[in-house]
Subunit: 266 residues, 2 copies
């Protein structure tokens, strides 16, 4: 599948990019896709055009530890934050000056939280099934929901609150950058994985959620979400196991006064 | 403490850098110090010159999620891989061309392994003591020793084996880069944390360990290790808990034939 043909007339660059990533999931390839889509770039998502063997063929050779991998002409690079740093100026998703390092800093921080989200379902080993590390997963997920997500969101909320230049709409400067795409994807993934826990945070971190919404309705991003290029979450870095999410609330807690008083336990 | 005065005559840059990081440990600040030291730069390690409050004062403001933080003139940035990417060209620790993205890729991969090393002693929560998550730590450390360290080292060995340009001495191109400093620090930290497990790997990954040794005897790095600017490992990202290391080997296994045959268990 070659993405984004319809938007290619106004593409921010005519360079030809190939993305090598696992098919069928958004995963760690998704921030790269979001960047291409926002920039209206005609990229090749190689797992769909040439099959997954084109991805696995680049691993285990000493060239790359893991996908995502980006190819542009003779250059072939991996590591998601590295790829974003490379693409940022080409896709005009960073300022021209040293503020690009602020963008990179915030993208890396969002990805730190993303990595911690992964470890909630694989706290012991990536080589074991979730079911075989479920006890530790329950503990780690509780800590992640109650301490880590709020800590990261508080940071991003403060960054947005401090950025008067964008009227608190974007993380750095007065335009969307790839840090905003990274945060949007983080929020999207966490809402999928922990809908109850993250749903409780809207009122505490309104600027973070407003940014997420602002990105999702941008014309090219919206078109991407409505296309078959965008894959649904399933078993990638973000996974939804209901038992790892916050417990269901009593109806009493959700709608005050509704359903009568709680019965004391026997 | 201001580092490296003796080497400042031949410094690779005259810019004035300030490093904000926790005092008393190498931690995630160390690759930055190694870069400054290798480049002969006169940097200020602010926790020692102005106290730890100068570090904590930069946190919780929406500016930085965590140290290390680098200040250079008006620019103040955090996130270790971001700081290294910024410093790379200034300290001449990357090639001038797009190969700098290969350097960054490999540095990020080394730091992924470093983050996994951290999670061996804190697999559930950074907010709990090690002792309160020891069962999970024992499991995660076993997986890390047996599967993850060998997987990462195999990758770096293959990268070195493929790099004919440096006669297999450096990861990228024909000179030391900050990827080599990152790998050196990773090996150093893992040897501290898991001496038995990592000591077993010398013969399997000779190029990785040779690189580590090659960096440690470079004049400026050696002078740094012998100075009081270099702090010993204790409780940072790398920690030594003997029970998390590989079990002690029977003398029979270490010296074949010595000590007679193993007695069968009753």
């Amino acid at each position: 599948m070659t993405g984004n043909e319809s938007a290619s007339k106004k593409a921010r660059t005519d360079e030809k990019f190939q993305l090598f990533y696992w098919p069928g999931i958004p995963g760690r390839g998704e921030p790269i896709r979001l960047a291409f889509e926002e920039a209206g770039v005609d990229y090749e998502d190689v797992a769909y055009t040439k099959g997954v063997s084109a991805v696995t063929g680049l691993l285990g050779t000493g060239a790359h530890f893991a996908p995502p991998i980006l190819r542009n002409g003779d250059l072939e690079i991996s590591q998601l934050p590295n790829i974003m740093f490379y693409l940022g100026p080409k896709l005009k998703l960073v300022p021209d000056d040293d503020a690009r390092f602020k963008v990179n800093q915030l993208f890396l921080t969002a990805m730190d939280c993303q990595n911690e989200a992964h470890d909630t379902h694989h706290p012991i080993s990536t080589g074991l099934y979730y079911e075989d590390q479920k006890d530790a997963a329950l503990e780690r997920a509780k800590d992640f929901r109650e301490n880590r997500i709020p800590k990261f969101f508080k940071h991003f909320e403060a960054v947005l609150a401090a950025n008067k230049e964008s009227k608190h709409e974007w993380l750095v400067g007065d335009k969307l950058t790839y840090a905003d795409l990274g945060l949007t994807y983080l929020v999207e993934g966490l809402l999928f994985a922990f809908p109850r826990a993250v749903g409780e945070l809207y009122s505490k971190f309104p600027k973070v959620f407003a940014l997420h919404q602002r990105v999702k309705v941008r014309p090219r991003i919206k078109a991407y979400y409505e296309s078959d290029r965008r894959k649904e979450f399933s078993n990638c870095v973000y996974r939804h196991y209901p038992e790892l999410d916050a417990p269901e609330k009593d109806i009493d807690e959700v709608v005050p006064g509704k359903g009568g008083k709680k019965q004391p336990a026997d």
